[in-house]
């Protein structure tokens, strides 16, 4: 199908599947692998768009479900779409709205027609169809938009999983047909990673075959969407299965298209998935944890509410050049964390800066073909001793020729 993006791969790691690309979207270039912060309601948690630009953010998320409720489709269209509405001249990505229906609304029911849910306003039954999702996303106007897919909980087993996968393909076709702006908005298909937990007992090869059958990969690839997302993987599933599915997907998906792993944002996940060949990520974690007073650093998270920081006159992270670290001490932020909005803004600025810097370092390491040693250093700094390394990460990296424990 028609595409409004180009992906130019400028470097590949000679050991792993990691790659560096320049993804050119309607609102400018995006360096990949990229972490995309989440501005759910058309704003990134207290930060101005100027601050986001200064942090080097090239793309962020908005959530279709939230914008569809407030300000609503009619208004956002009248106000010129989401870029103009929030005065953000760089790239945006919106989800389909379906995930929030399933995760936020208890009464969501899925039929062939779409996702049925009760309006949080008046309790009436409403229906989100693939066509409606496209129409909403066309009005919002993001550079990348997502198909509506049939989301099942990662703990679901049996035929429901298979049903969801087939339905997701039928819904993709409906989305492609309903999409009104392929020249300015890139529709991504979602590969449902929804796990059949029965698979755990079988060997990996069997698992692959089953997933292949269930996901009907070829069908998805045949649709030739501008990019692909791996979905349904951030619902608390076993990490050892998670990486295998990601690894499998990056093997099977076309190499000339961006691959987006939805809902992933912990630092070690970003490093591992980049080694497996993923190009894009999003997660609310860095901004959400900031609001609870937690600051991210290469050595792990600091809870700045703790009184142990009351007299700590170091910056959150030495060497970090974000506004927060250049200006204030941990002691200062401790006074404000979770009490003043400024405390929250300052930690959010740092955490977004941390995530973007991590991605920048990953890209630099790949370009210099030093990625394996970067990964070694990263794990050592974050976890301390090798005995503390998560086993799933060790296994995942071993699959792409990095021996963390050697």
């Amino acid at each position: 199908m028609r595409s409004a993006l180009t992906l130019k791969v400028i470097a590949r790691c000679s050991t792993t599947k990691a790659r560096v690309g320049i993804l050119t979207l309607p609102h400018g270039p995006v360096d990949t692998p990229v972490f995309m912060p989440v501005g759910t309601q058309g704003t990134l948690k207290g930060l101005t768009t100027k601050q986001l630009e200064e942090l080097g953010c090239q793309i962020m998320l908005n959530n279709t479900y939230h914008l569809g409720l407030k300000p609503g489709q009619e208004l956002i269209e009248e106000l010129g779409g989401s870029h103009k509405f929030q005065n953000w001249n760089r790239n945006l990505l919106t989800d389909s709205g379906g995930f929030q229906m399933v995760s936020l609304l208890k009464l969501a029911r899925i039929t062939e027609e779409g996702v049925e849910f009760q309006s949080p306003h008046d309790g009436s039954t409403m229906l989100l169809t693939p066509e409606h999702s496209m129409s909403l996303q066309n009005s919002i106007g993001a550079d990348i938009i997502m198909q509506l897919d049939d989301v099942v909980s990662s703990l679901t087993t049996g035929p429901r999983v298979e049903e969801a996968m087939y339905r997701s393909i039928r819904w993709l076709d409906r989305c492609i047909n309903a999409h009104k702006k392929p020249e300015s908005q890139n529709l991504f298909a979602i590969i449902q990673g929804g796990l059949n937990m029965d698979l755990r007992t079988k060997c990996i090869e069997d698992e692959y075959k089953m997933i292949l059958k269930y996901l009907l990969f070829k069908e998805m690839i045949k649709r030739d969407t501008p990019g692909y997302a791996i979905g349904g993987l951030s619902g608390g599933e076993e990490k050892d299965i998670f990486w295998r599915i990601v690894n499998f997907c990056t093997d099977k998906l076309p190499k000339n298209k961006p691959i987006y792993c939805m809902g992933v944002g912990y630092a070690e996940d970003l490093v591992v998935c980049s080694a497996l060949g993923v190009d894009m990520y999003d997660c609310v974690f860095p901004t959400r944890t900031a609001r609870f007073g937690n600051a991210l650093t290469p050595k792990g998270s600091l809870n700045l509410k703790s009184t142990k920081f009351a007299q700590d006159f170091e910056p959150i992270e030495k060497g970090c050049n974000c506004l927060t670290c250049k200006t204030y001490t941990r002691a200062y932020i401790h006074m404000h964390a979770t009490r003043e909005t400024v405390g929250c803004h300052l930690i959010t600025i740092h955490n977004v800066s941390y995530q973007l810097r991590l991605m920048n370092n990953i890209r630099k390491a790949i370009i210099n073909d030093e990625f394996p040693s970067f990964v070694q250093k990263f794990f050592k700094e974050l976890f301390g001793g090798k005995d503390k390394y998560p086993i799933w990460a060790v296994n995942a990296l071993k699959s792409v020729n990095i021996e963390l424990l050697s």
């Binding site: 309601q41 058309g42 704003t43 948690k45 207290g46 930060l47 101005t48 768009t49 100027k50 601050q51 200064e54 939230h66 407030k70 300000p71 208004l75 009248e78 106000l79 509405f85 929030q86 005065n87 009351a310 007299q311 006159f313 506004l323 200006t327 204030y328 001490t329 002691a331 200062y332 006074m335 404000h336 009490r339 003043e340 909005t341 400024v342 405390g343 929250c344 803004h345 300052l346 600025i349």
Partner: protein
């Protein structure tokens, strides 16, 4: 460190145009008056990160409230070796410290000769004169306000009022005894005219850098409050700046300026911002036709009528918010309880407030103040009675 207050211009009324200059380590900080001291909460200007604060270039002075971070004594920040300016990232600004919060003065009478009681995030704490001075020596603000024995009773005995004046003077003596400190003395005396005069005269005898008048809680209207403060003001020397707490609305500011007040706090701006309001008033009423139609001073961005209003908060305003965002967007941010709402509103409101003060200074300089004020009340004031009251004060 030394401070200097020059009166650049006075009028036969009480109007004053001044300049406060502070010299510290050969560095000079200047504040033209009438002006504002930006209100802080826990040592930050609420909602504004330093980059957003510096997008408001006319802010020159900050008022830091000690009771916000004195739940543990000594406050951990006293261990910071480089002073309060650096700790709070206010090196570019004149930093005032007062122990009490000018915007939220919960009056407490349980002061003794030894200490005052303050409200912290973790309950009531006592601050002694000695420890306060010790903290000030460490923090090294440009100016600090000496301790004051506030009276909570509405109708205190004369004995209580006298004690309040005496204690406050004693604490002032403790404070200015310390070399180099620039101290503002607080005028007390409650509603008792003789005591207010005694407090003013005694304070003026001392080597203070300026005066603080606390009108909050004394009168039920701004007019009443100013009338109560007047005996104090009338007994102050002209050559030192006067800071008032409790006057915040544009009318209040104009009233205060016309009575010879030089400095104001901005807790009103925070209150308006948190309520979702944007300032749209102006001292500069260009079109005379405008003045016949009563206008709004503030708009509430909660109002659903703004949901599709693509105009800035205030047309022509040069603040960050107005140059970049629409009323519709701010309405949406409020409606979705997003923190950017108060960031944008605070950026605009504080910017606008500093501009209002600049307009006041210019109008005094051009002998236009009375005319501007008259226009202002004609356009904005509710009710003829209030208008008459206020303008009579100003035009007298």
């Amino acid at each position: 460190m030394s401070s200097l207050f020059n009166l650049l211009k006075t009028s036969e009324k009480s109007l004053r145009l001044g300049r406060l200059t502070l010299i510290k380590n050969q560095e000079q900080k200047v504040l033209d008056t009438p002006n504002l001291l930006a209100y802080t909460s826990r040592g930050c200007v609420p909602h504004l990160t330093p980059d957003n604060l510096s997008s408001i270039p006319l802010i020159g002075a900050i008022n830091v409230t000690l009771e916000h971070f004195i739940d543990v004594q000594p406050p951990p920040s006293t261990q910071f070796p480089y002073g309060i300016h650096k700790f709070l990232n206010f090196e570019e600004y004149l930093v005032f410290i007062d122990v009490r919060d000018p915007g939220n003065l919960n009056l407490m009478s349980n002061n003794t000769d030894k200490h005052v009681s303050v409200y912290t995030a973790h309950g009531v704490r006592q601050v002694t004169s000695d420890s306060y001075i010790k903290y000030m020596n460490i923090y090294k603000p440009d100016i600090f306000v000496s301790l004051v024995d506030n009276i909570a009773d509405e109708a205190p005995s004369l004995k209580r009022v006298k004690r309040s004046v005496d204690r406050t003077l004693r604490w002032l003596d403790d404070a200015i005894y310390h070399e180099g400190a620039q101290v503002f003395g607080v005028l007390t005396g409650h509603k008792n005219q003789e005591e207010r005069i005694r407090s003013a005269q005694e304070t003026a005898k001392r080597n203070v850098a300026g005066f603080v008048l606390n009108g909050k809680c004394l009168g039920s209207t701004s007019r009443e409050c100013v009338d109560i403060l007047k005996p104090s003001i009338n007994h102050l020397p002209p050559n030192k700046p006067r800071l008032v707490y409790g006057l915040g609305t544009p009318e209040d500011i104009l009233l205060g300026v016309s009575e010879g007040i030089d400095l104001f706090d901005t807790s009103y701006v925070l209150k308006m911002t948190n309520a979702g309001n944007a300032f749209v008033f102006s001292l500069d009423i260009k079109n005379d036709l405008d003045s016949f139609n009563r206008q709004q001073q503030i708009i509430s961005l909660w109002d659903i009528n703004y949901q599709n209003d693509a105009r800035p908060l205030l047309a022509g305003c040069q603040c960050y918010s107005c140059k970049n965002h629409t009323r519709a967007y701010v309405h949406h941010l409020l409606n979705t309880h997003e923190m950017l709402a108060t960031v944008l509103l605070m950026s605009h409101n504080l910017f606008h407030y500093t501009k209002f003060f600049k307009d006041i200074r210019e109008s005094i300089n051009q002998d236009m103040f009375s005319l501007k004020v008259e226009q202002f009340f004609r356009v904005y004031s509710d009710g003829e009675k209030e208008q008459k009251n206020l303008s009579s004060i100003i035009l007298n």
